[in-house]
Symmetry: C2
Subunit: 238 residues, 2 copies
């Protein structure tokens, strides 16, 4: 399948690598491919230069955001939360009638030095939107012709693409959205990642809870003594 992964951060890399491994044609979207390839320093989250990542994962195609979206049947949004709506809106035509799986958290921060993250006590910077709206809903409103599904966001992306690494895979993944066919595509993708317990929360308004769970996710990670990038899952026991 032709799948676009928008964004070159750690989450986007996890999905791009896994999708290529699964045999998909993967188109990675970035603002300016030349600039992305020119970087020689780790990014703000400590990820190595993307050129090195591409060398380690042959078969990925790096394109501008719009071209990556245009090349794909299914699109995964890995753009930072505070840039997501503007960046995706600029590629609205290329996203028309496609499923867009969004896992962004709408953190309010610009520079890590201004807003240390994560803090020593594991709580995120302010979320915006929060409580009465969500980034997932904002994206859906900005792209009414696109089928937005919120998913992945309750886990580190490294374990989203490798659920078996946590408790043998016995934990729960969530989806929410307005489009049943798009949610089914997402469920199928998650099953190919190795997920067995996928709970459909219902409409996209449930993205609020999924995004706001970022605080709890961070707190649990710190409670477990994991200083960054929690290696755990949550299971809905019923």
């Amino acid at each position: 399948m032709k799948i676009a992964v928008l964004g070159t951060g750690g989450g986007g890399r996890a999905h791009a690598a896994k999708l290529a491994e699964l045999g998909h044609d993967v188109f990675v979207g970035t603002r300016d491919p030349e600039a992305t390839l020119a970087r020689t320093e780790p990014d703000m989250m400590g990820n190595p230069p993307y050129k090195q990542f591409l060398a380690d994962h042959p078969g990925l195609t790096l394109l501008p955001f719009g071209a990556a979206a245009a090349a794909a049947e299914l699109v995964i949004n890995g753009i930072d939360g505070h840039n997501a709506v503007a960046t995706l809106t600029a590629s609205a035509d290329q996203l028309t009638r496609k499923t867009l799986i969004d896992y962004a958290v709408p953190f309010v921060y610009q520079h890590r030095s201004e807003h240390p993250w994560p803090t020593p006590w594991g709580v995120m910077p302010k979320l915006d939107p929060c409580d009465t709206d969500s980034l997932g809903e904002q994206i859906q409103r900005a792209l009414p012709q696109t089928k937005v599904v919120k998913s992945f966001v309750t886990q580190e992306q490294s374990t989203v693409v490798d659920p078996q690494a946590i408790g043998g895979g016995d934990h729960t993944m969530f989806v929410a959205g307005e489009h049943a066919d798009a949610k089914q595509q997402t469920v199928d993708l998650l099953k190919s990642y190795g997920w067995n317990d996928i709970l459909d929360l219902g409409p996209l308004v449930c993205a609020r809870g999924m995004e706001m769970y970022a605080h709890m996710h961070s707190a649990i990670g710190f409670g477990l003594g994991q200083k960054f990038g929690g290696h755990f899952g949550i299971k809905v026991v019923r």
Copy 2:
């Protein structure tokens, strides 16, 4: 042990009944005991009149908030979130040097008819505070001589006091607070309720995540087809 349960709603009833069953001396706090006993209609959440509850659970002592707190060594706050700070502050002297376990969610609502709850899609009314503060922290700031522990809040109170009812008890309860001895008291109480997996998230700032999880809790309940009072738990799989 002498334990006060402040509040006569469904959550307070669950704790009061369980604590009496466990052999504790239970003092239930309410604003006006005479008024509480005079009610003959179910409350806004559909709970039967408290007089009937007392008849079904002999041994509980109904007192004004301050007197209940004064009589106890350990206090459980089951006062509605939007009334909690003001009501507890009025009993600050009686709460001095005591552990106060708070499980309130700071929902913004006054009358169920104005703010239907839960909504058909399972999302809570607005939370206040949210994201950059929490009710747990507000209570601790208002009562600096009291040892506030946030706990219980990620579950329906009926399963907090009966964890074995969900998956044989194989799910996770959380505590957060600034006072190690108060958290240990809370952990001991939870163990007496039947909890085996209790995760200390750390400082009280983690109450933000626990309270904000209300959205996700509601969404999961709706995802499971449970229209009110979710009968499930979450397990941290690590």
